[in-house]
């Protein structure tokens, strides 16, 4: 890794097709800054993206990347990291990809605690399909497919993560570029699964959870006496329905990632030209 990597090195020459003003611009810039800041470069970084507006990110960034099927970005990222622990793996997705079709994988990725980061662009709407309710949409949020609102409470992804044994949970806001980049950086540096939910407003289809709404309601945990090592305090903040918080909600400082616990320490791409030495012992076992 060279030390003169700048965040623009992670930018591809492809111009984003996100709507002007989309929160995803800021989200992506923060990710690129955090990757550069942590000493990574495009050749040792693997970005996995899901489906949705957020999924386009692999195209606009420059690194090794895979844009997969809807909801399965996390398992792909886990596979990449476990096969080559030298790589920096970052998975990006949206609220639909991560908390609806991919909700099962989210819970299990949190449990597994592989040393990687997961950045979710949460705009509380399905943008790419032009404005349907997402799992984080408000109960009374009217859309083309939910004219009276979804009539079910939104998923609380941070609560899911905490209950599944998360070791790092942060909430970020795309328009606060400085704080956002810092939080993603902390997720990357965390020993384990660094989960960052990013409020990344959709300016086209969501007129409720807007930049103004988040700016007016969000409280920076750095300006409170929040102790991020306390699961109890994290729980109180996460379940507080009256406020939006920004910052590291919870971090287990004793986290030992799955890859380390299970001894994933090889670059599995490296194999001999024939059967490995000692392979005949496998046959002899069957005597």
């Amino acid at each position: 890794m060279s030390s003169d990597i700048r965040f623009t090195d992670f930018k591809s020459d492809k111009q984003p097709t996100w709507c002007p003003g989309c929160g995803d611009f800021g989200t992506m810039n923060g990710m690129m800054k955090a990757l550069a800041e942590t000493g990574n470069d495009p050749d040792n970084t693997f970005v996995v993206a899901g489906i949705g507006c957020s999924g386009k990110i692999g195209t606009y960034m420059h690194s090794y990347a895979l844009h997969g099927v809807h909801g399965r970005a996390l398992p792909v990222g886990i596979g990449v990291k476990l096969a080559n622990p030298d790589l920096e793996v970052m998975v990006a997705g949206g609220d639909g990809d991560g908390y609806s079709i991919g909700a099962g994988h989210f819970i299990h990725a949190v449990r597994r605690n592989v040393d990687m980061s997961y950045v979710v662009m949460d705009n509380r709407i399905y943008g790419l399909t032009k404005g349907q309710a997402s799992p984080t949409s408000r109960e009374d949020f009217e859309t083309s497919t939910s004219p009276d609102g979804p009539n079910q409470p939104p998923v609380n992804p941070k609560a899911l993560a905490l209950s599944a044994g998360a070791t790092f949970i942060a909430q970020s806001f795309s328009s606060n570029s400085q704080r956002h980049a810092e939080l993603v950086q902390e997720a990357i540096e965390h020993d384990g699964f660094g989960f960052v939910n990013v409020y990344s407003p959709c300016v086209t289809f969501n007129d409720v959870d807007t930049y103004d709404y988040f700016r007016d309601s969000i409280v920076d945990l750095d300006e409170t006496d929040h102790d991020s090592t306390s699961a109890d305090q994290a729980k109180d903040k996460i379940l507080d329905g009256d406020k939006e918080y920004m910052g590291v909600l919870y971090q287990d400082e004793n986290s030992v990632p799955y890859d380390e616990r299970e001894g994933f320490d090889q670059n599995m791409a490296e194999i001999p030209d024939g059967a490995p030495d000692g392979a005949m012992d496998l046959v002899r076992e069957f005597y």
Binding site: N44, V48, L66, I78, A83, A269, D273, G274, V283, F286
Partner: protein, 587 residues
Amino acid sequence: MPEDLNWAIGGEAGDGIDSTGKIFAQALSRAGRHVFTSKDFASRIRGGYTAYKVRTSVDRVESVVDRLDVLIALTERTIDENMDELHEGSVIIYDGERTTMQNVEIPDEMIGLEVPLKRLAEEAGGAIMANVVALGAACEVTGFPIENLDESLEKRFGDKGEAIVENNKKAARAGQDYVQSEYDHDFGYEMATTDNDYVLLNGDEAIGMGAIAGGCRFYAGYPITPATDVMEYMTGRVDQFGGKVVQAEDELAAINMALGAARAGARSMTATSGPGIDLMTETFGLVATTETPLVICDVMRSGPSTGMPTKQEQGDLNMTLYGGHGEIPRFVVAPTTISECFWKTIEAFNLAEKYQTPVFLVSDLALAVTEQTFEPETFDMDEVEIDRGKVVDEDAIDGWQNEKDQFQPHFPAADGVSPRTFPGTSGGAHMTTGLEHDALGRRTEDTDVRMEQVEKRERKVETAQEEEDWDYREFGDPDADTLVISWGSNEGAMREGLEMLDDDGIDVRFLSVPYIFPRPDLSEEIEAADQTIVVECNATGQFADVIEHDVLERVDRVNKYDGVRFKADELAAEIKEAVAGESEVKA
């Protein structure tokens, strides 16, 4: 037909049927006898009938037969379940002192041996050894020298301590002595032993061993009968060679983890059965269009839906050939024997990496649960060859970059095969996507680029068709008028069947086909025969359909795949061209 003995132990699931049967099978194998085992079982932990069957001979045995000579019946139902296979003179060993076995009636033409298995086991040190008492009794009945059992008992119970091993040896001899003293009878069996050393393994184990030998270092899976043994085999063993097994939360995750590991450069695989293949189908297209080398193993069982999870079927041929939306270049390989499970797995990895495609390795329950003896040299590790295809390292990366120094993972090379570079390689950073993409791996809907990429992926298949051997295995009389074609695990039964047919004066040419796609062109062989019969374990004849398709008259084709519908004037022009003699027109 080999001079064989057919032996079984049956009872309730949870009675230790499997481990007892395996002890006997291993003892036979160690004594230089060939063994072919099979299982009747249900998918539950306790209760329900289950049996472990052993066919043994000094000659090779390739199949099960419908005949049972010696049966250890721990339940009355075991006798009922096997009545069709039992015959005049068959010996049935059972514990007449067991409450549920006191009223057992053995047909007159058979020989019932009442052996107090539980009581003798208790005398030897514990009721838990009742099955071993039965093994000792079986040794006496079959004339199999009981010393051969000792090594198996040591292997099975060695980690429990010397005393346990000795008690088991004692228990076996108690069974032997009891039969000798109570039934002084020559049952007419000869169990010759030889100096040959055989190994005994099943198809799932052979796949797992082949995977490790063939360089597989990452396995992700979700437990499912009858594929779980592949995962269990690799767990712990692949670790010794720098690899790992991951149990995923479901099959969707399993195939995506395997895909991720493959993108990272590992030889990677997942194995499942029907219901799991259904779920994995979602990702087939992604594997193919991102040109990721991946081995997907389907150990077939009876479907549809949950079907009969512990029963045999070759019902997923269409699924593996055609599953998934859109058009997916893929290879489908179906090993025909347990030893071929080993070699075809290695070949599957080579094909996957050389052509950067998904390879379906299609096995079935019959191969998975059958253990068979082999000379250890059958699995000669020195013969294993690994071909990783077009891997580009740091020094060679320049040659595959465009004018803007960007690496081109989907470069439309003449043979269709693009360069591949592993993440971490300097100058190789690139993306790929399940969206149609350009040479750089970036999304496109440009019709020319779309067609270029479709054709490039197809060209890989054409290249493979030309460069690889997609041959069949031939048995029987090459000049016979009757041609039998089969795929997958039926080879062994058909080979022995050929000998029986020969005894009846029926000559058959038998082709066993391990390649489903690409597959050998059998039109000449079919042409030369008076009658062609396709044998497979399913109701509709899925392989028969593709074989018939292969020999049908060819039609001319007009195809369009640029993402735009047919337009009237364009279509008229294409038809005109076709009429003028173009056999295949690509719009």
